[in-house]
Symmetry: D2
Subunit: 477 residues, 4 copies
């Protein structure tokens, strides 16, 4: 119990978990080459001995002991600001562990329906925190035919469901998709993928289960090649993380790990709570990425002596506008936070959805602008091996020179970051994740429709139209 | 001295000012039909006796007396918030009087070069405030051939310039374009249109002069017909305001009204200070307009029973996103204000420029979305006269009925507001003003390029690319 | 019978038609000031004596006599090309008379169901052509609550319907909206607004009726002021045309003027045939307008010496791309025409819909680009009266001068055209019409979904995916 | 001489060429794993024995023998149509061999300056054709500091230049970037990267040289992993092709292979001729890709039962519009071809540039739409190995089932194609190539500015503005 070291984290993964890559069972992921980079990435969050990061990544919890800050329950704007700082300095494994915040933010609502479930949330939270564990967000079901509901599918298992109940617990069957880092965490926190109707009782289920629980199987998939180096892959070498296709093959869940088991009225609440925190994560990431885009666009232009070109300046300005709008949206969301009954705060829902939508709807366009400035060398630049080779390195240094003060190696790193981030496998991952994390464009539009004060806007419009007596006296907008 | 009544304001316009419409001199604008609506609009800002507005539109100044709040020098975020509230509840004549804030925000910089000028700014400010006068922003020169500088034009008068100086004052000649409400204010606050070089001394000139000063002539132009009624023109009937083409035909300006007369290093500062406040005005207006768009889109759809249509919901969500991003940008700009040496605060420059640019670059698109939902009836709806007519009113009530609870007259008002605001003469004015107020898209991009911390973004990009030793240890974005 | 002169056309309008403006009955539209410009516009299509236009606007019909070319039934690509040329050189009254082509293009389909109706189409067509009459497209019903069908509305008259039938004809009741030029034509060609279901028999009705038929009443509405001059309003002075709100107050239609009276299976066909020709009209117009945008953008920039500015060149290039894509789409649509059983050809449906959608979806953006280059003077330029005035004209000539070779008056005309076309009442009309003519964006998307060869695209995708024939079964479904 | 077989092509690559991968010299590319897929791709163009392709990929030349159709000089629209069909059915190696067309299209202009060069073009063309060789487009220089011209760079070799001349030939030094398939062809056809000024004589150089000429060295780079299989990589497995960084280390070129050696007035002509054909290639490819996008969007939606969802239909319609506009642009470009003095035809320049720009400027957006419909499974789908594994395959078949008639394997292939084409390494390559092939957005805008009939558009605008002939003088300037 207490903070783990990176070594302890790695050791903890040797727990018999059933995980697969390319169709083969991996007995020990800590020694398998496909997991080398992902484990290093995940382990970087246990860097408590680094004085420069210690206060960013840890805090003193209510019991007086130091815990990872990902577990701090925010109660003020300042807490949210610290969490944002943390999110900029944490791996995606730390990021998904934020699922605990989603759970906690519905605890009060759950308690009203069934206090035992709320107590389970509290207990699991403390267990994960106090043992410095990591947890995955396990939400998306395969869904089969989208025009039919969960219980109408050809196969009743196309949504995770309860197939057995007894006094000790429930048994669940089904699969969940897109489970980032599933093989790298300790707990799978399972949520319903959406609201459920009255006749879908068995599908309204939520719980947390250890990754090595019997019946849990994970098929891994990664965008990344196994052998990323930091010169050619400066971004993905720090972010390579497998996605898990997680199967629950009649998995038993004891009652003290259950958060929902049939109370359909709560299903939507749980689904939404995770959605919000996923979008917060996307928004925080977008602030960092969009700033990088500005920096890269400017660097790649300056290095070629093109920074005074009007097209370059226009394009950089467009990227600045994108970055600033996102940064301001995040600032607003934290300042105008919302609060649960028990005092936990979370970023403003409408603000998060609006800014996340703006991010998603315009991300491909921002990539286009960066590509426009960067040019074809993004694709055709030879690799570090070519640079280090006696046969070819000299030619590269000669012909990639642009002007005094521009180091060829630095120039190559800048192109590599642009390619890795936007025009290679990780770039493709980013494009899809920007859109899909927290639900696609359509889902995000629906959230805005629901959260916006349409009544207020209609009243303002009616007043401006002179449609109420009062309005006659008021200058229309 | 002190607050004026609306009647006193109107009376004050009968001061012999030389103003023209359709080529004819107007002897007394207060009795001329073309000015009836504009004067009523301007007079609405003198509504101090209205208890509902009194605290919004006035404040107690440092001498203990009540003044219009447009003259309050903000020193805190709360002051800026009150100013925003005021801007939502003030005519465009009040809006342009905000030019005093632009002047005051450069007072410290002016004082460093010539303390007398700074004293003039202070004195004119108090004179205008204490007499409850109105002032116009007088900035844009005709500019002639844009590929040449001010002193290189075919006619040296194509930028306002000093043609004489003596111990009593300066004499100026030239013209200024786009001077909103020029004929409706008391003071013309003249600023240089841009930075001036060392050899353009005579063009670096700024001053304030009464509208009725000898040699000042104003040619008026308005988007609006003279006979706007509030049913068919619910927006423009409250916003009709002539634009002035202002001529300075050898106008004498005494030294105590001069803010700049040859000190070229200050020209850009003055031009920019006004630009910022113009953009703030545009941004505040955009927050109101974009909220109206959401309300109108929802209303027009609900009234036809189309609010559950997926296209309607998508489009409303897009408009919500636009409105919310603008609102959040304004919030950020006020929260992260900037401050002059003497303690005056103003909205964050980069934030204002970014959000204003976002507004301008996407305004035509927002109009498109509203037009898409509103349909052709926006254009073809008969008028109030048709509705009130015995011959035609009955048919209109019959055939414009949609469903229970939707009042035909209200429905007509909603269409009229959409047309007036976006698809009629005032709508055209809005489209151009959204882009051009505070400089066109290109000018606004340039401001972002200048204000953004490009160094910081480049450093972040280099770190993420692994281009600095320090960066190797830091996880790239 | 035979070609009319302009005077004969005007005389023909004095036929007792019941038409209203601002709630008042107009006894003789030919002497009413609101109709002066519209009638002049409509009369310009009778300019047969002008040798420069004669061959464009007329042709020799199958009986050997000369008719207006709007009545020529195209049977080849060359005919379509001539029709396009005509459409560029014809008033909007001529344009809507193109409704005869819509009727003719469904004649074969109608004949299969009821030969008498097809004969009526043929007869009315010849009657209109041989008397050189004009006809209006009368299609859009008020529609009431869009979530309900025609016969489910609160008031059964919210869609035009048959309220009586006898051996002489039918009696119809209802109203039609957005009937451009209704008061300026001779025939109202009424079409169903959409497909009708089996239980909506009374709503499946189509016919042609003279404007002065008893019970027909027209409420007029125009975007335009009554007093447009060609200097300040160079576009709208040639396009001002009232829109009619047309009421059918139990209008009797003899059987020989009926095209549909209950055969619900044809309703959608008639509605669509008109939709296609409306979109063709929109597309042809867009080719002209988009070329004007390029010319105006370039002119307004050259006149200020800004044509070498990179932003100007970028923006002009964007407008060129828009104009060229539209021009190419129209060329394709005519080249790859479709043909009815009896040999009439019409532009390719998918091509027209795609290009029209591209036009509509991007028109507001094109306007934005033009506004960005044109600047604020679009709004604030004084009028011709100011220019001609001794008091103000001299100042305008002095201060609107830019450089040698640029005539101030010409410069003013260019600004006026930009304003009139894009930033004034007519500009607003254009914005809405670009979107709504031929159905809004949603309706046009639906047409593309229907017309595109989705099966071919799916097969190509499956082949590229390496899928086996087995898979093609589902794809073809 | 004559058509080669695939085996002969492969054998021909064993000619001692000096080519590198990851810094290491490859002695025989035909046996090296990195080249296995690229060589198979290139060899597919020698598939003359396939009766289904024979007439597409070959033709009977003027000497009566059969040659690859890539060498057919088009002289009619029908020829262009056949070439388009060929381009859809040819590898990228065949595509770049189209450089011969670029050479031939400037032959007449070259002949006017130096007939020997034109004869060289003719001779090399026949040599390549008659030996069924392949050639690469070798154009882009490293360019160093873009604010300086070729001869002003820190290193004079940053643009390829002539470093020696004698009676036998010239000696050249420098490098060329982005040379697709350089290691897979026989001839490197070198062109100047842009126009050259009078003092840049040594940089105005063009020639063709065998890949194995002494001093030619190629550093290869590929987006693709070496082990692409057609299930997981259905697109890139057929398109994997290395890009070459080509070094000319004092390469001797005999006079009979020289097309330009100092005649600076021709440099721009050669550069542009290649640009046009590169853009034609991009446009032809875009027609195919955009149709695939429609098919994939529809398939992925149908397979999930979402094809009736309004968002799906909207998005598919947007993709249809994109695909159709491109297809129509290509049709127009071929129909309205241009012709050289000696009768060779090529697609209309303005049409190609406009449509290519439309493609490039909107490609990222089209990808966004496809990503929006496809969802996260694009990224997280397990691989073929997982499907074929006994341990995991059963779960995949169970949980990826959607509904009757949808085969899981086919569904996986569809997702894989989407990922491979738009969200993986090859997808990134596509994003950049869409923008950059034939020059970036800025270069393409410049071409439109140059090629469009601005004078005609200005005249139309002046006429519409009612301007007098007097005004046309300035407009025509």
């Amino acid at each position: 119990m207490g903070l783990k070291s990176a070594a302890e984290y790695i050791e903890s993964l040797r727990d018999g978990r059933e995980t697969y890559w390319d169709g083969e069972r991996i007995d020990d992921i800590t020694t398998h080459p496909r997991f080398a980079t992902p484990i290093a990435v995940a382990a970087s969050d246990y860097d408590y001995d680094n004085p420069a990061r210690r206060d960013v990544i840890s805090y003193v919890d209510e019991s007086g002991k130091r815990s990872h800050r990902v577990f701090q329950i925010p109660t003020s704007e300042a807490d949210l600001a610290q969490r944002v700082e943390l999110m900029h300095d944490m791996s995606i494994v730390g990021g998904v562990t934020g699922v605990m915040m989603a759970l906690l933010s519905v605890k009060d609502a759950v308690a009203e329906v069934k206090p035992e479930y709320a107590a389970n949330i509290e207990r699991i939270y403390k267990y994960v925190r106090d043992n410095d564990l990591r947890a995955a967000e396990v939400i998306t079901d395969p869904k089969g035919d989208r025009s039919r509901r969960a219980h109408e599918q050809d196969d009743p298992d196309l949504y995770v469901r309860i197939v057995g109940r007894d006094d000790k617990g429930i048994t669940v069957r089904g699969a969940k998709l897109h489970i980032t880092a599933a093989s790298l965490v300790h707990e799978l926190v399972v949520m319903p993928t959406k609201g459920m109707r009255q006749d879908e009782t068995d599908y309204a289920v939520s719980f947390s289960i250890p990754v090595n629980a019997p019946g849990v199987k994970i098929i891994n998939r990664s965008f990344a090649a196994p052998d990323l180096n930091t010169f050619d892959y400066p971004a993905s070498a720090h972010h390579s993380m497998p996605e898990g296709f997680v199967i629950f093959d009649d998995v038993f869940v004891p009652w003290d790990r259950v958060f929902l088991a049939g109370e359909v009225q709560l299903a939507w609440r749980l689904a939404q709570s995770l959605g919000l925190w996923e979008r917060v994560g996307g928004l925080v990431g977008s602030v960092g990425t969009s700033k990088l885009f500005v920096g890269l666009a400017q660097l790649v232009s300056e290095m070629q002596g093109k920074e005074k070109d009007a097209n370059v300046q226009n394009t950089v300005a467009e990227l600045i506008c994108y970055a600033e709008m996102l940064r301001m949206g995040l600032d607003y969301a934290c300042r105008h936070f919302e609060k649960t009954a028990s005092g936990m705060v979370y970023p403003n829902g409408l603000a998060v959805n609006s800014a996340k939508y703006y991010y998603a709807a315009n991300y491909h366009d921002a990539v286009k602008r960066l590509h426009d400035l960067a040019g074809g060398l993004v694709l055709t630049l030879p690799t570090e091996s070519d640079l280090r080779s006696n046969a070819t390195g000299g030619y590269m240094r000669k012909y990639l020179h642009t002007k005094a003060g521009v180091d060829v190696e630095t120039r190559m790193r800048v192109y590599n970051l642009i390619r890795d981030l936007t025009a290679d496998a990780y770039g493709g991952w980013h494009l899809v994740v920007a859109l899909q994390a927290g639900g696609g464009l359509s889902a995000q539009r629906t959230m805005m429709n629901r959260m916006y004060d349409l009544g207020g806007a209609k009243a303002a419009a009616l007043a401006a139209a002179g449609a109420t007596p009062k309005a006659e006296a008021v200058a229309a907008q």
